[in-house]
Symmetry: none
Subunit: 258 residues, 2 copies
């Protein structure tokens, strides 16, 4: 059987919220080492990938690898029934067609359990090579969210160009154009830092619509890490301290103009 107990149930709530707008159905894959979720969005443009290390749970048991296919809207509905301070426990028998979610209030004076019906989902083979990237930008996640939200006012496509000095987000549309430049900035507070590691400058173009979906993960942590290389998908990673991460992949638009 599978059983995972998470004192900070809020993290699991936030993770599901951070992918439900993007993917309809997905598998929770559990091994004895970790819980992971991988899925492409409905239009097969982007990919989301969640990893939670077994050690980050307060209790974790997984007798055999198991795939639990869920509908993210329904999962979200059930998780709305959990308080942000609740302890959340996930349970499934090896052969079960349902996932049990248990919500315990901090004082244990309220215990709720829900069963979410599961579904069989064709697990798409998702080979994600763990490559080196030419540019890596760590910045405050709130800042990234703000920039994406702002630029959306002006258009639906955004150019991200990274040099040693900083990273520039540009948009152009009917009302006009916009640019936001963040300088490499080793602020005192780690959460305010903008840290760029770069071998070669990189400039890529993306659909703001998807970048905006990604920022639903903002509340999971203070930092976001963008990794870019020419002609390959950008990785937008929200690390979850001592526990894992949620990563989004989005292929750049190809400039036919060039």
């Amino acid at each position: 059987m599978f059983e995972a107990r998470l004192t900070q149930g809020k993290i699991f709530k936030q993770l599901i919220e951070a992918l439900k707008d993007l993917v309809q159905d997905a598998n929770i894959d559990c091994s004895e080492d970790e819980l992971s979720i991988q899925a492409m969005d409905s239009s097969h443009v982007s990919l989301v990938q969640v990893n939670l290390q077994a050690g980050g749970f307060d209790h974790f048991r997984c007798d055999r690898t198991i795939s639990l296919g869920f509908n993210s809207t329904n999962m979200s509905k059930i998780l709305k029934c959990a308080g942000n301070d609740d302890v959340i426990t996930l349970k499934a028998e090896d052969t079960a067609d349902a996932l049990t979610l248990m919500f315990e209030s901090p004082g244990q004076d309220r215990i709720a359990d829900f069963e979410l019906k599961l579904m069989d989902i064709d697990a798409e083979p998702l080979g994600i090579p763990d490559t080196e990237y030419q540019c890596t930008i760590r910045m405050p996640s709130g800042e990234f969210q703000r920039i994406i939200r702002d630029l959306q006012v002006l258009g639906d496509t955004c150019v991200i160009s990274c040099t040693k000095e900083g990273v520039r987000f540009s948009v152009s549309g009917d009302l006009g154009t916009g640019n936001v430049l963040l300088r490499n900035n080793a602020a005192e507070k780690e959460e305010d830092q903008v840290i760029i590691e770069m071998e070669e400058p990189v400039e890529l173009t993306f659909a703001l619509r998807y970048l905006n979906f990604f920022t639903k993960a903002t509340s999971l942590g203070g930092s976001v890490i963008l990794s870019m290389s020419p002609e390959v998908p950008v990785v937008v990673e929200y690390p979850i301290e001592e526990f894992g991460h949620i990563k989004y992949y989005l292929a750049p638009k190809i400039d036919d103009d060039a």
Copy 2:
């Protein structure tokens, strides 16, 4: 060329917010002395007029008078991309069809620049005689906002009557009637003062809808000044300390009942 730098960018944000509900399109007119905006509201009932002295900017350069026609909704959208603590710089070439807005974060580690496409607007000839008024009331701007908001509950028309003793705002509607009387009051704090200067008592009737639009300027300053004479438009002025003002003009309703 034209270039104006404003450390307190918030003021410009607030000004645009204070007129965008009232006017769709307007010109920013710049001379070497000042930046001004004048426009009638869409239904040609009221008029708004902004003046900012060149000396109030941290840098101001205007080689030749220039009119920059903008759509206030679009301007507002772009200004939403500026933080309240940002330094805002406006720039335009003499022949430009776009206005450049630059937003610098306090620490300068974030620099954003936007271009707003401009439009040609027929500048309506707006002769505003600088007359003496029979009554002038200076009161806390928050108090004025509160009164207008409260009275709107009861009706859509408001009578303002000013005597030496005080100013009375009256409304009458289906639910009942309401009156708010403010006494002449030389409070210690200047911002709490209600100061009435009067030659003859004046009583005028106005549409609350427009007075309410005017109160969008409340955050620009602690005081508002109402100037009234019989049968001419009231002036609702929000002074901006050491810098300029935003003034609204609204014609009184004529009592056919009388």
